[in-house]
Symmetry: C2
Subunit: 653 residues, 2 copies
């Protein structure tokens, strides 16, 4: 019989809620637009697909209120026409840092292997499996690519968004036009004419983001165009529950037979207990690739050819490629969705439009600034990662956390990197996709091959491209946020395997926490809360109170306090040490400031080896809010860390 | 520029939703009570604490409708007075099979280590750490104990419940009295008088479950009492953000100093970014343990003594035990909750009350049928596991899926095992808790020890008890659901480490799926959907089409079809084979029925070694809906599997 006498504080009830991300500090004045009947915002996002939703979620989590931030979408509900289905390992890592990866981890299809099927030398076999490789080759926290309906990804993001934004997306609201005019209301120079429930209204904002897809109204309004190759081959795509005796139907497959090409994408289990399969089917007899500069006539002609593609035609073509195996929808109503498409590789030359004082006012993200074929599973991922790159930079600018450059014509250097980093990335994506997609459409390894690409060349292309297609090998060039001046400190060049490299994301490692023995992932300390992290890889003389480690942790602790509160977080890792470590025999500031982010870097995984750091020398790493390494330098070189941070972060008041 | 022509089926929109568990088949008539103005149900649950909520969730997921199932609770909202905070590894495994473990995995405190502190021989040290052991010693899917506020666990269960039940818990509704009367309405012989919003109402039900806590109205109404030892030592317990220089504050600690005993339970991080600590503090000077049979006077006296415990007193006592380290609440308002309690070890002699025809009508679960000290972290776990044990049995009975025994006086043998399994478990829990709790309250290893228990004896007690306290070592005795007649087949006796044992839960192993190379946990195929699983560990002659494996998979596939549709699921595992396996060179029924549950048992972990199965001989295992092994037998012994299942499952129509 429990006999209790108890007393609880009122805030104990709060303990039943889920955790919330802490907002960023704000040094700029609180958003308080004049009360003159004019609707004003700090940011308007146009479009609530994956890119727009991701941006909305991040800005809301960083602390932008519903008054400051508006996201509009012309459709009445969550997107029904989305066709993407792949979530890359890197995107999953990011979702994990937002606490929204679980449903995908649990319920998406996990693609672990990629099988390559080609024409067999044995005529009785017709086609045969030539090789089977891991889907994700570089080390990553998640060793698979996940596939799941795009609508579900959007629903997951929106559910989390509604914890931070009461209004959420303003739907049935359409952008009609927009323009920049600094003369009327200099603080709010972007004008957007929107249609809400049939009524037209002009609202003003400091910034506007076009996340409104390939046919972006925003992009056109600012006079930009997608440039590049126009139309690809025609493809049919079908999502269905299939009945087949093809043995690899649950693996990602590239099938090149003499009859044509099919890509198999296994998909998630649905509530009937059945599994969906997506087939990308090349429709070779209908169309030849269009010329490099398609004009309106060509587009029209292509549309006409596309309209001749039918579900029956796609299925018939798939049947032919799969022979001698059979494949068909399991029932008449087993087809979820099908489409015919042509996609060229195109990119917008500018992702940012500035006002005349150099302040970026309009941003373009996602499909609105780059399009490419879906076969490398890039679309939804690259789009969301555009927003992931932009969100913290924009929030820093709005909250007064990053300085305006006097010597760069008044621009905001941190914000400028959105274009330089993501445009270069889009260009690389498109170059890869052009090769991969045409290699795929071609009858690789058969007599009918146009490119003459062999099977092994195609597999090599996949393997080398995997760092890129997994999202784990993305590398940004040097800029104000990517400082490679101390590169000689790090030994090794295999950056894809984790060797520290400014401009690449910090690979996850497993660390044992000193305070409690908890086995943790370092990426769990890189929550997407907009904070910079100073990762100190200490030296093996840590127990020497006059050693470089002891000096450096003290100096870093002092440095952190010179920046706005909470903006810099420390993670401290130590190598194998000659003696037993206790809280008493190391600098006191470690426990004071980093008690719960102080780790053994050798007991679970060897963080020093993985990162290419000599335990006798140590290293200091600045990790950006998006998980990318910004700077690697000598452990003791606080001056360089200070210089890096001071260029991009406003000192505290 | 993507150019799409697309066509979607209307049900594609459903793909954006989370998955739902499939309901159990129902052979009994659909619930359709007479339309005579009398409120009738199939099950009424009284109390919506962890045990009641868990039962409600499970029955709703099994398919009981809001009309059939009612859960009432007298409080207006989710529990505010809950004091449990520990989630055992086994409970996490169960949560995982329900898809509700993520928030706890991500946000609870994970206790990985248990440190033992005792009086030091060095007077300057006063106390010192004697040893530090893993918190969870036996193999388990989760290698830690999680701690988190009970209200949060309830909120998580309730959120999932509301996906399956529109009404959810009927709150502000109190059970006044209840009785069984078979004469009025034989199908609905249980009468419950309830007070809803101040109005009294009598409702009828087939079954009623008392999940109404230690002071259970249900238990009293059916004339049962908790029996056993009465009152334990007096303890104070405090949840607070603490300021301390005690080095192990983030580990679970047992501190035995000459000043007394304290247990430290590290708790979750809260939204301020701080971490909560729970302290259990023995208050030795106030009370001696009461006699074995406390009467009302003793209780009153105890209450009086307890009322003399103050927060200041608890904190002062903790300070003394922690010396020479300091410990105090970090701020004046840093105490979340505190209480003084005495808990004896008591158990109810019957967990089931039957009507005169032998049908179980009233069940008692959770604190209503057993109470014990909270220090072994058992309370919330054992209570929820009572419900986990009862739910599927009750659902099978209601849905007509389990036979009534003619030769056992008309009873329902499957249902009877709820009492036999959980009562024995409660008794073992209480025996362990009595030892652990008194060992803990005693000044172990000091001159003042009453029991003379040494430090190493206390550590041993923890270590041997860990199978039990982790929930992973629970073992049910033989009964109709636990058949140990083929025990000689299995080699090894270390059941805690995974050796197959009817009556114990199936240990998780990592398997590689043949169809897609996915690395999966076998427990992910043991979703808590109420299904039995036939786990076939095939032999290494699988490629021999006339071998024992080929014969057995065919016979099992045939057997499965003789039971109600979907009630038996197959999981097939193969060992290292002499040749390459393909879908073509193994029995066709493997792909037809088990394409997505067919695994290599040797490529990731060695399932055969872990389970104690000889790959030359194989084994067939029946796993119960609660993840416990029911039967292990020869792979070819279909007759025994048939006999086991036929005793407990009604054959299909």
């Amino acid at each position: 019989m429990p006999l209790f006498t108890e007393n609880a504080s009122s805030w104990r009830d709060l303990r039943a809620l889920r955790s919330f991300a802490p907002p960023l500090p704000r040094l700029s004045p609180k958003f308080a637009p004049p009360d003159d009947g004019i609707q004003r915002h700090e940011v308007i996002i146009v479009g609530a697909g994956p890119a727009g939703l991701m941006l909305h979620l991040l800005l809301a989590r960083y602390g932008l209120t519903d008054q400051s931030l508006l996201c509009i979408d012309s459709k009445p509900g969550t997107l029904k026409s989305g066709q993407a289905d792949g979530i890359q390992p890197r995107t999953l890592e990011v979702f994990k840092t937002l606490g929204i990866s679980d449903e995908i981890e649990n319920e998406a299809c996990q693609m672990w292997e990629f099988a390559f099927w080609n024409t067999s030398d044995d005529p009785a076999k017709v086609i045969e499996r030539r090789s089977c490789v891991p889907e994700v080759i570089p080390p990553a926290r998640f060793k698979y690519e996940a596939t799941i309906h795009q609508g579900r990804v959007e629903r997951i993001i929106e559910a989390d968004l509604l914890r931070y934004s009461q209004r959420g997306v303003l739907r049935k609201t359409k952008l009609i036009s927009m323009w920049i005019d600094e003369s009327v209301d200099p603080e709010f120079p972007v004008f957007a004419e929107i249609e809400v429930d049939g009524e037209l209204r002009v609202v003003r904002t400091k910034h506007l983001v076009g996340a409104d897809g390939a046919h972006s109204v925003v992009r056109r309004a600012v006079g930009l165009e997608l440039e590049g190759q126009s139309l690809d081959y025609i493809w049919g795509v079908v999502d269905a529950v299939v009945d087949t005796n093809f043995p690899d139907i649950r693996r990602r497959c590239a099938i090149h037979s003499s009859e044509g090409s099919v890509m198999v994408i296994p998909r998630e289990r649905i509530n009937t207990g059945e599994y969906i399969t997506r087939l990308y089917v090349n429709i070779p007899e209908i169309v030849e690739p269009a010329s490099l500069d398609a004009d309106a006539d060509l587009k029209k002609e292509a549309k006409g050819r596309r309209s001749r593609v039918t579900l029956e035609g796609i299925l018939k073509q798939a049947e032919d490629v799969f022979k001698p195996y059979y494949i068909r929808p399991k029932r008449d109503d087993a087809v979820d969705w099908w489409a015919a498409y042509q996609i060229g590789q195109r990119v917008c030359p500018e992702f940012i439009v500035k006002d005349h004082t150099g302040v970026p006012r309009v941003f373009i993200v996602g499909d609105a600034c780059h399009t490419h074929s879906p076969k490398a599973g890039q679309g939804m991922n690259v789009s969301m990662m555009d927003s992931y790159n932009l969100a913290w930079k924009l929030a820093y600018h709005i909250n007064g956390l990053t300085p305006r450059s006097v010597d760069m014509g008044g621009s905001i250097p941190m914000l400028d990197t959105y274009h330089s980093e993501r445009h270069a990335n889009a260009q690389r994506l498109i170059d890869f996709d052009r090769k991969f997609s045409s290699g795929f459409s071609d009858r690789v390894g058969t007599a009918k091959s146009r490119s003459g690409m062999s099977h092994s060349e195609f597999v090599d292309l996949f393997n080398t491209g995997c760092g890129f297609t997994s999202g784990c090998g993305v590398e940004y060039d040097e800029n104000i946020l990517v400082d490679r001046s101390s590169a000689e400190l790090i030994s090794g060049k295999d950056f894809l395997s984790g060797i520290l490299r400014p401009g690449r994301r910090l690979l996850n490692v497993k660390l044992k926490r000193f305070a409690d023995g908890w086995h943790r992932d370092i990426q769990d300390d890189l929550a997407s809360t907009g904070r910079f992290r100073l990762l100190l890889l200490l030296t093996n003389d840590l127990l020497d109170i006059a050693g470089v480690s002891a000096t450096s942790v003290n100096s870093t602790a002092t440095l952190v306090q010179q920046f706005p509160t909470s903006l810099l977080e420390q993670i401290i890792v130590y190598p194998r040490l000659p003696g037993e470590i206790t809280w008493e025999n190391i600098p006191r500031c470690v426990k004071d400031h980093s008690e719960m982010t102080f780790y053994s870097g050798c007991e679970l995984e060897d963080a020093y080896r993985i990162y290419g750091v000599d335990p006798a020398r140590g290293a200091q790493v600045v990790v950006r809010p998006d998980g990318y390494v910004g700077l690697v330098t000598e452990l003791s070189d606080i001056a360089r860390v200070d210089a890096y941070l001071s260029r991009i972060i406003t000192r505290g008041a």
